[in-house]
């Protein structure tokens, strides 16, 4: 996420406070845009969430140093197991320290898939634990750990077919 705030405020202190408040919003949007990119299968947009050299432990990729990008890996994995994925984020805690930030973001993921011809939804609750950096004015993730809290499946024979 790009922070486009420019130093137009009355003094350095005011500018710094405005920058931190703006950074907070940019970091929230980083999480939301990542989820949107995953759910739309947008490899380029997923990769924009990570800086070069970023480590995503949950897919085992170091961005720029593997055969695949993080985005390619996530989209390939999801295409094999689920249709119409939904990733929702909430309960966000962010600590900003100049050009670095740490964030814990709760997520709920919903994946629709078929078990023996019966459509089911798998609901997973977990958290993204991210270390983020601002490079050239752009906030992105440099290290991601995904924590798994619980997951369950719900079978529903009357589920409406959604987009593929």
């Amino acid at each position: 996420m790009t922070n486009k705030l420019t130093p137009m405020a009355a003094d350095d202190t005011t500018y710094h406070r405005a920058l931190v408040a703006s950074d907070y919003q940019a970091l929230i949007e980083l999480q939301v845009s990542y989820c949107s990119a995953v759910d739309r299968g947008d490899i380029g947009a997923i990769d924009k969430s990570f800086h070069h050299g970023a480590i995503d432990e949950h897919v085992g990729i170091t961005q720029g140093f593997s055969d695949r990008t993080i985005g390619e890996t996530i989209v390939a994995a999801l295409s094999q197991v689920a249709a119409s994925p939904m990733h929702k984020v909430g309960t966000v805690t962010i600590k900003i320290d100049d050009d670095r930030a740490i964030a814990e973001t709760y997520f709920l993921s919903e994946h629709r898939f078929s078990i023996g011809g019966i459509m089911s939804v798998r609901l997973r609750s977990g958290r993204y634990l991210d270390q983020c950096e601002r490079r050239s004015g752009v906030w992105a993730i440099v290290h991601r750990v995904v924590v798994d809290d619980w997951a369950m499946t719900d079978q529903n024979r009357n589920m409406r077919r959604g987009p593929q």
Binding site: A21, E57, L108
Partner: protein, 175 residues
């Protein structure tokens, strides 16, 4: 257009307090929950006062009802009037009891209604209540653990390795 930076900062700080409530409940972190409240805070639901008693009672209730929990904040409305604020925060809570192949999930959709006061550079809850709009309890198939790290219901959770701060003005001493 005049930008009210203080109001932005206040809203972000208040949201962080609410997130700290959820986080502390899910990690059973009494000290973290205490740090979100004024010493004389009241909990309307439990009909008790005092942040120590409230925190202990709220966490005891979650532990009694589940093996693992998720308190998921979404729509948050914050109305600030000087050094006081009123908040309505939508919350989906999932209280999960694990049991082999199946798990029981109590899902509650509701809202936290909180009053907060400015304290120094931060905000603290002075009154907390909640509304349950609807609730379900059902048994589901448990899904095998992923190969990701597992969460923990304590401050030994991986999140406390990188983010021991639960509110802008409070830090844990460590594990």
């Amino acid at each position: 257009m005049k930008i009210d930076i203080r109001k932005l900062e206040d809203k972000q700080a208040i949201y962080t307090v609410l997130a700290a409530v959820c986080r502390s409940l899910d990690r059973c972190d009494i000290a973290g929950l205490v740090a979100t409240m004024r010493p004389d805070a009241t909990n309307v639901d439990l009909e008790i006062s005092g942040r120590d008693a409230i925190s202990a009672a709220m966490i005891a209730k979650v532990v009694e009802e589940s093996d693992v929990s998720t308190h998921f904040l979404s729509n948050v409305l914050i109305d600030i009037d000087g050094d006081r604020a009123n908040v309505e925060a939508y919350l989906s809570s999932y209280l999960v009891t694990l049991g082999g192949e199946n798990c029981t999930v109590r899902t509650r959709s509701g809202r936290y209604l909180d009053q907060l006061q400015r304290e120094g550079t931060g905000w603290l809850i002075s009154s907390h209540s909640s509304i349950v709009d609807w609730a379900t309890c059902a048994e589901y198939r448990t899904v095998d653990r992923s190969r990701w790290q597992s969460g923990s219901r304590s401050i030994s959770d991986p999140s406390y390795d990188i983010l021991p701060i639960v509110c802008s003005y409070q830090e844990h001493d460590g594990k």
